[in-house]
Amino acid sequence: MTEELYEELEAILIQADLGVEASVGLVETLRQRAKAEKIKAAEELRWLLKDELKKLIGEPGVLIKNPSGPTVVMIVGVNGTGKTTSVGKLAYHLAEQGQKVVLGAADTFRAAAIEQLEIWGERAGAAVIRHQMGSDPAAVAFDAVQAGLSRRADYILIDTAGRLHTQTNLMQELEKVGRVIGRAMDGAPHEILLVVDATTGQNALNQAKLFAKAVPITGIILTKLDGTAKGGIVAAVVNTLRVPVKFIGIGEGVEDLKPFDTEAFVEAIFDRS
């Protein structure tokens, strides 16, 4: 009876993309706790597992605020995870709170990426600093930070081109963008958010590791949680990088960026609809 339940719970975790190792580990912890605390009821076991999972994923993080001057936020990730959209939504979210935002269009590679960000800039009422397609992304980032400084912006958000973590030269380019931002302003970038697509499976962990090798990641944005994917791989990402999930993406509209909520995230994993 109980054995069946354990297997069912393990299956739920694996199907939420938590990965075999984490799933087996969690259920093992559950077994031990159940034994020690003499728990048998299915409902209680479920509750315990959710509790363990919450502990594993940890508290949500909040956006860093630089107390002395603008906060520079760099957005990174593999292709198509939702970086530009997240920059746009974040800009809107900040502008709603009365913050002055400047955007840097440092994806100079993908066709019409600059135009895409410009449209988001209009939606959020944020200025967009841009160069030509194909120009040096570090130079754009530098200019964006300088513009933000001189305009006394509260936030400077830098969109970057999508790149696979296995492309060494592009990862070096990213590192350079980070370095050049630091040259434009001491202590910047203050925040580097890795955008992870909830639809992604185990590969997200490789992504996280290699991005963190190139630039110091400070938090995660988990996008596309409006679909049916559960995004369980963030548990491994959070525990490997030791950085929190800060925001989630739940759609393509301006309002569709929300603060991460561990409790709701865990509940959704067990919500089988």
Binding site: A11, I14, Q15, A16, D17, G19, V20, V78, N79, G80, T81, G82, G88, F109, R110, A111, A112, A113, E115, Q116, E118, I119, W120, M133, L164, H165, T166, D197, T199, T200, G201, Q202, N203, A204, N206, K224, D226, G227, T228, A229, K230, I233, E252
Partner: protein, 445 residues
């Protein structure tokens, strides 16, 4: 970890099971437990794994163990054959039959790579003599139309777009335009959408009702996890897809989604995307994908190749020596002879799982023309020199060069390259040892 995946974990099992006649249920179970883990780690859907394992188990129990293979290898071989079979066996070519223009509709989740793929397909078919027209049906995402226009421009392929129109109307008008402008192929780039978005799924249905779509292709990101099954199933139920394109295969994702998608829809995977460049599109090969999902590179084809062309003991010995510090110019020479039968060394090395992760391995290139000169140089050396190349000083180099009819620089280059290769191979060998459960080359045992 370097040699992630199945091959290393199987070493123990291999050892235990060596030298039996028929596959017992226990043999099979032991190996399949590892296979199951490998598949799950590769993101193959949980339920798909379960069905698959059950199927292999049924097939494998009681089967004769082939002479040269151990029971464990035999199970793995069955696993790979079944995987390959499940993914369609051999490569499927999309054929154009009937009356043009042929409309190809691309669809998929947000960010799966539709627009990039649209450009690649247009170029691919243009090279085959077609006259493609790209059509911008993504009217929602900011600058999506512009993106396709830029892609089209860079490829010199016309892009059809209409401002402020419904995608259904755009598709219909594009068809008219194509007929009038002598395009025989129309590629519809549709907006990314969630499979649970009834309204947008309805839009795809309406496009299909309005224009005769020749093939509907689902574009899937190779990094997709467990959800691939749901996505593929829903798209297939709503609009009955004809095939799949798997994108972002140039990364290091194992790509289990390929198996998931294929097994729930039964539709073939037509192409794989291997990069952002417009020519980074390849016909999909189920057998290669099977090896990738299992995380064992092409070890099996290597086994097969080695079996077919050379003595297994020889291959094993060679493999071991290549990875040890004792690899000498003598071995190198023997290797050169073997190569003619087995294939070039760089290719052999590339078949090993994890090999692509070793920096500099791609530099061990032996070009056929060079081969003969290298052979001549090695032949001009004394046995002592071949075993201990470090003793080859300036005067010896001049002698060797004269004997082989090459320049002294050529000898210098050979020795330098050999030294570099030896270092790399040694590194590979050391890493091999570190991957606890035994060497790759024990696969040959």
């Amino acid at each position: 970890m370097l040699f992630e995946g199945l091959s290393q974990r199987l070493q123990d099992t291999f050892k235990r099971l060596r030298g039996r006649g028929k596959l017992s249920e226990k043999d099979v179970k032991e190996v399949l437990r590892e296979v199951k883990l490998a598949l799950l780690e590769a993101d193959v859907n949980f339920k798909v794994v379960r069905t698959f394992i059950a199927r292999v188990q049924e097939r494998a129990v009681g089967e004769e163990v082939m002479n040269s293979l151990t029971p464990a290898q035999q199970v793995i071989k069955i696993v790979r054959d079944e995987l390959t079979e499940l993914m369609g066996g051999s490569a499927v070519q999309l054929r154009f039959e009937g009356k043009p223009p042929y409309i190809i509709m691309l669809c998929g989740l947000q960010g799966s790579g539709k627009t990039t793929t649209a450009g690649k397909l247009a170029k691919y078919w243009q090279k085959q003599g077609r006259r493609p027209l790209l059509v911008a049906c993504d009217i929602y995402r900011p600058a999506a139309v512009k993106q396709l226009q830029v892609v089209g421009e860079s490829l010199n392929i016309p892009v059809f777009a209409l401002n402020g129109q419904d995608p259904v109307v755009i598709a219909a008008e594009a068809l008219e335009y194509a007929k009038n402008h002598n395009h025989d192929l129309i590629i519809l780039d549709t907006a990314g959408r969630l499979h649970i978005d009834a309204e947008l799924m309805g839009e795809l249905q309406r496009i299909r009702e309005r224009v005769p779509v020749y093939r509907t292709i689902l574009v899937v990101d190779a990094m997709t996890g467990q959800d691939a099954v749901t996505v593929a199933e829903e798209f297939n139920n709503a609009i009955n897809i004809d095939g799949v394109i798997l994108t972002k295969l140039d990364g290091d994702a194992r790509g289990g989604a390929a198996l998931s998608v294929r097994s729930v829809t039964g539709k073939p995977i037509l192409f794989g995307g291997f990069g952002e460049k417009s020519d980074a599109l390849e016909v999909f090969h189920p057998d290669r994908m099977a090896g990738r999902i299992l995380g064992m590179g092409d070890v099996l084809s290597l086994i097969e190749k080695a079996e077919a062309s050379i003595d297994q003991d020889e291959a094993l010995k060679m493999g071991k020596r290549m990875l040890s510090a004792e690899f000498t110019l003598e071995d190198f020479q023997a290797q050169l002879e073997q190569m003619r039968k087995l294939g070039p060394m760089d290719q052999i090395l590339q078949m090993l799982p994890g090999a692509n992760k070793i920096k500099g391995l791609d530099k061990i290139k032996v070009d056929e023309k060079q081969l003969r000169r290298i052979e001549a140089m090695i032949q001009s050396m004394t046995p002592e020199e071949r075993r201990r190349p470090e003793i080859i000083d300036g005067s010896r180099r001049r002698r060797i060069a004269a004997g082989a009819g090459v320049k002294v620089q050529d000898v210098n280059k050979l020795l330098k390259q050999f030294e570099e290769s030896r270092k790399l191979l040694k590194q590979l060998g050391l890493l091999e040892k570190k991957a606890k459960k035994g060497g790759l080359f024990s696969l040959f045992k």
